[in-house]
């Protein structure tokens, strides 16, 4: 028998010898493994005993060796950083005199009453938290006072130097420095690895936007608002604000309403700003040209519902004019002619039917008509019956007036990398929409006069919609918005401002519409922020610009003529 066959036989057969001998021989293996195991325990015991015996951290390890990455704005200003702070705690079993210790601690812990401190110091435990975050200075004071039984432990703590500004989008972390909301959560993996994150936000521009919207909120006694500035070409969000705000360093103390991000998580019916999209669809689909006439005079009743205009028209208008005077009837008839399929196709390629994609968890899915009936198609054309976020709207309009290709919103500097170009609108459609938006702001009957800032060629569109309360539209509670692009002949930025539940004031002749409430905020913003955004004022009438803003509006021109006679 060859040696290989012998070996093979040994491997696959039950040994042929006396089973007792087999067992005795084979007992050597457990003997060896057992010896090895006990030796390892012994070695580990000795090595542990030789280790540094200073108290190691007793609780979940929060200060990992890697420092969490910082968050910067696009110009390099720090929005979130990590600083050393101390957790202050007591070991009640070693507290000598809880009364004395309470007195000594009371001014160091302004957030706790003396009763609370005392009850912590006398709990039946070895660890009683006093504060999970005190400054090094406070900790030093506690040490100086030499309170027996009170200890501190260094722990890295997230600090937001901008406090309120952009708090919603920067987000917050939990006690273990794990991202909870905003970029802190959305980019947690990178931050936890120590990588810095550079946002698309410019915090100075952000502050101007916030201030302008805040002013309008207080003028019109509104309950809140939101605003967003987007780079038309890249989709980068330059500013994003949600009001009321909260201090990012004290997230848990803010109330639910302040924590809520109205710009990316709140969905609202955007009203007439949707007419920009409706007009673009009409022109792009080839069903209409800008000069085609639309019936805005005869009454429009569908499925038991009457569609009315704010200002009833006396004569038919062309497609461009329908948008300039913001006719609901006209928009509805245009959409009806396009049909639901065409409308849904465009809404979908503009991203308005899908959940918002952004680098923060606070995003929302649009509320769309179900079932999508004929009347739905008509109301959606002027922004009713469909609710989207401000970020949805800004990205859709950027797509429409940028270069016609799909724009994806992003909070990260540089924007979303596009694998391929998704063209939605042709260059000619884009040019016409830009021009019509400019006319909305300049025309006598346009609704965006308050945003017409000289030199910046602002184009825009107002939106006003009624809020839905208990499933019914409430005429008194409005969402007012204004969307602008500037400079209109070659837009660099889209600005949206939204004010929630404004109340008509005497100075506004008791109007609380987008033109009165939101447009001035956008106007004020452009006036102050355009220089920061490197947009220089131009002469609109120069032959280099004028041709791009041509709109054929014979009916409206005639009206103006008649009025001046």
């Amino acid at each position: 028998m060859s040696i290989w066959r012998k070996l093979g036989k040994k491997l696959i057969e039950v040994p042929d010898q006396d089973p007792r001998s087999t067992a005795r021989n084979r007992l050597a293996l457990p003997f060896m493994i057992g010896t090895g195991a006990f030796l390892m325990i012994g070695i580990q015991l000795v090595s542990l005993s030789l280790e540094d015996s200073r108290p190691r951290q007793r609780f979940a390890d929060t200060t990992t060796s890697i420092e969490r990455g910082k968050i910067y704005d696009r110009t390099g200003r720090i929005l979130a950083t990590t600083l050393p702070a101390f957790e202050l705690y007591a070991d009640p079993r070693t507290i000598m005199n809880p009364y004395e210790a309470t007195v000594q601690l009371s001014d160091l812990l302004p957030n706790l009453t003396e009763e609370q401190i005392f009850s912590q110091l006398t709990r039946n435990t070895r660890y009683a938290e006093l504060s999970w975050r005190v400054s090094p200075a406070t900790y030093a004071k506690a040490l100086e006072r030499g309170i027996v039984g009170v200890y501190g432990r260094e722990r890295a703590t997230r600090f937001y130097p901008q406090k309120y500004e952009a708090a919603h989008l920067i987000g917050t972390v939990n006690k273990d420095n794990k991202g909870l909301t905003g970029i802190e959560s959305g980019m947690n993996d990178a931050l936890a690895k120590g990588e810095d994150v550079h946002l698309s936000i410019d915090i100075a521009v952000q502050a101007i936007l916030r201030e302008e919207i805040e002013t309008q909120i207080s003028k019109f006694q509104a309950i809140g608002g939101a605003g967003l500035v987007m780079d038309v070409k890249t989709g980068e969000i330059i500013a994003l604000t949600s009001l009321p705000q909260y201090n990012a360093n004290y997230y848990s103390r803010a109330d639910k309403d302040a924590q809520f991000n109205r710009a990316t998580k709140g969905v609202y019916e955007m009203g007439s700003t949707f007419k920009i999209l409706n007009t673009a669809m009409a022109l792009e689909s080839g069903v209409f040209t800008a000069d085609d006439m639309v019936d805005v005079v005869s009454p429009l009743r569908v499925a038991g519902r009457t569609i009315n205009d704010y200002h009833p028209e006396k004569q038919p208008l062309n497609v461009a004019e329908v948008m300039v005077v913001s006719s609901n009837k006209g928009s509805a008839r245009i959409a009806d002619a396009l049909g639901a399929d065409v409308q849904q196709k465009y809404l979908s390629s503009l991203g308005l039917l899908n959940r918002l994609k952004l680098e923060i968890p606070e995003v929302a899915t649009p509320i769309i008509p179900a079932p999508w009936q004929r009347v739905s198609t008509m109301t959606v054309s002027y922004g009713h019956g469909i609710s989207v976020t401000l970020a949805h709207l800004a990205a859709a309009v950027s797509t429409t007036i940028g270069d016609g290709t799909r724009v994806h919103p992003s909070l990260i500097k540089g924007g979303v990398k596009k694998d391929y170009e998704e063209r939605v609108f042709s260059h000619e459609t884009v040019r016409q929409i830009r021009a019509i938006m400019r006319r909305v702001v300049t025309h006598k009957r346009g609704t965006g006069k308050f945003a017409n800032i000289e030199g910046y060629v602002v184009g825009g569109k107002t939106g006003t919609s009624e809020k839905i309360v208990d499933g019914r539209y409430d005429k008194k509670l409005n969402i007012t918005s204004f969307l602008a692009a500037f400079p209109a002949h070659d837009p660099k930025y889209v600005v949206v401002a939204m004010v929630d539940e404004p109340k008509g004031q005497k100075f506004s002749q008791y109007y609380a519409t987008g033109g009165w409430v939101a447009a001035p905020a956008v106007g004020g913003f452009i006036r102050r922020a355009a220089p920061l955004l490197n947009v220089a004022p131009v002469d609109e009438d120069s032959p280099k610009i004028r041709p791009f803003l041509e709109v054929n509006s014979p009916q409206l021109d005639a009206e103006v003529q008649n009025a001046s006679y």
């Binding site: 006990f38 542990l48 007793r58």
Partner: protein, 369 residues
């Protein structure tokens, strides 16, 4: 004292029992009293009961444990086999009962409430299984027609299945390892041994890791570090140093959740020092290796398999407990035989050692001369 010519049960027992094993067990039981006294009061205080509660109960259980140990160790091999067979069946029924009606404690249903006590039947199934499986395998090797190995696999599958249902992964591992050792000794072909240990066992381990969420969590915590229990247990050894901080001076027992049972080795390390831990580990090693040696010297196949299996059970349980405490393996709640608090564990350990003593008794010399 007892005369060599005393032919009473006690007389024969005293002269035939392995006094090294008996003495080691006694030593462990005494050390156990001290360690439970050190480790259990803080645990009792956290749940707001009398600080001496666990100490009293531990002492109370020592008496029946001693009775069980001695009563089992006087039995003949025949009776041991009958006891084990009946016991295994009974324990299996009780395990099914515990899964069906037992209360859930920390995510597992392992106990049957008996008035003021909770009985953990799987603890008793362990030694009985070792004996029954040794019996089956020895019959197979002695009479080639008897399919003992198949029956033993069926027993193992049923028992392990029940234990996974509870779930009790630690106990499952101990039972499977017992059987693995015995079938190895019984002459499993080497190719199969290699296949099982290098392919099947890692595959089962990986499947268990992904299929059982608590196993997944435990193992991940071990790999990532930063587990509070493991950190605290390791800190207790560095705190204790070679000679310990002294009885009652330890800190860690206040923080560890089961200081009196699953982490009593860490308390020993902190209060009595590494030296005492090494002494403790040596006693377990001695019991295991002494039993292996006695198994080698046995003439009967059944005895070789049974003694080896029981010895490994005993040693493995101690190794898992100590290994978790010193962070060599993921934390696995397992009691330290004779030392940890726990009625079922103490009685079952007494039973294991009782059977071990019964099987390792020397053949009566008097009859030969």
């Amino acid at each position: 004292m007892i005369s060599r010519t005393d032919r009473s049960v006690i007389g024969i027992w005293w002269w035939t029992v392995d006094r090294h094993l008996l003495g080691s067990a006694l030593m462990l039981a005494i050390l156990g009293i001290f360690l439970v006294m050190a480790a259990s009061p803080p645990v009792a205080m956290t749940i707001n009961i009398d600080p001496q509660h666990f100490v009293q109960r531990h002492l109370m259980f020592l008496a029946p444990a001693a009775v069980v140990l001695i009563a089992t160790s006087v039995l003949s091999h025949r009776w041991i086999r009958i006891l084990a067979l009946a016991g295994l069946l009974g324990a299996a029924v009780l395990i099914i009962l515990s899964i069906a009606i037992g209360p859930e404690v920390k995510g597992a249903t392992r106990w049957i409430p008996l008035g003021p006590f909770k009985l953990q039947p799987s603890e008793f199934a362990k030694p009985f299984f070792a004996v029954v499986s040794a019996w089956l395998l020895s019959l197979w090797r002695e009479e080639r027609d008897f399919p003992g190995w198949i029956i033993s696999i069926v027993c193992l599958a049923i028992l392990a299945g029940l234990l996974v249902l509870q779930p009790d992964v630690g106990m499952t591992i101990v039972i499977v390892m017992t059987w693995a050792l015995q079938i190895f000794l019984a002459g499993m072909p080497l190719a199969l041994v290699l296949l099982l240990s290098l392919v099947v066992a890692p595959a089962v381990a990986i499947t268990g890791y992904f299929a059982l969420p608590h196993v997944y969590a435990r193992v991940n915590k071990y790999l990532e570090g930063g587990s509070m229990q493991a950190d605290n247990a390791m800190r207790s050894f560095s705190n204790g140093g070679f000679f310990g901080v002294g009885p009652g001076n330890g800190d860690v027992k206040y923080i560890l959740p089961d200081a009196h049972s699953d982490f009593i080795f860490a308390v020993a390390g902190e209060e009595f020092g590494i030296i005492s831990c090494i002494v403790l580990a040596s006693i377990y090693a001695f019991i295991m290796f002494r039993s292996f040696k006695l198994a080698r010297q046995s003439e009967s196949l059944f005895l070789i398999y049974a003694i080896s299996g029981l010895a490994m059970q005993f040693g493995l349980q101690a190794l898992i407990h100590m290994g978790s405490s010193v962070h060599l393996i993921p934390t696995k709640g397992m009691t330290l035989p004779f030392i940890s608090y726990g009625g079922s564990s103490l009685l079952a350990t007494a039973l294991t050692v009782g059977i071990l003593l019964a099987l390792t008794r020397r053949p009566v010399a008097g009859r030969v001369s």
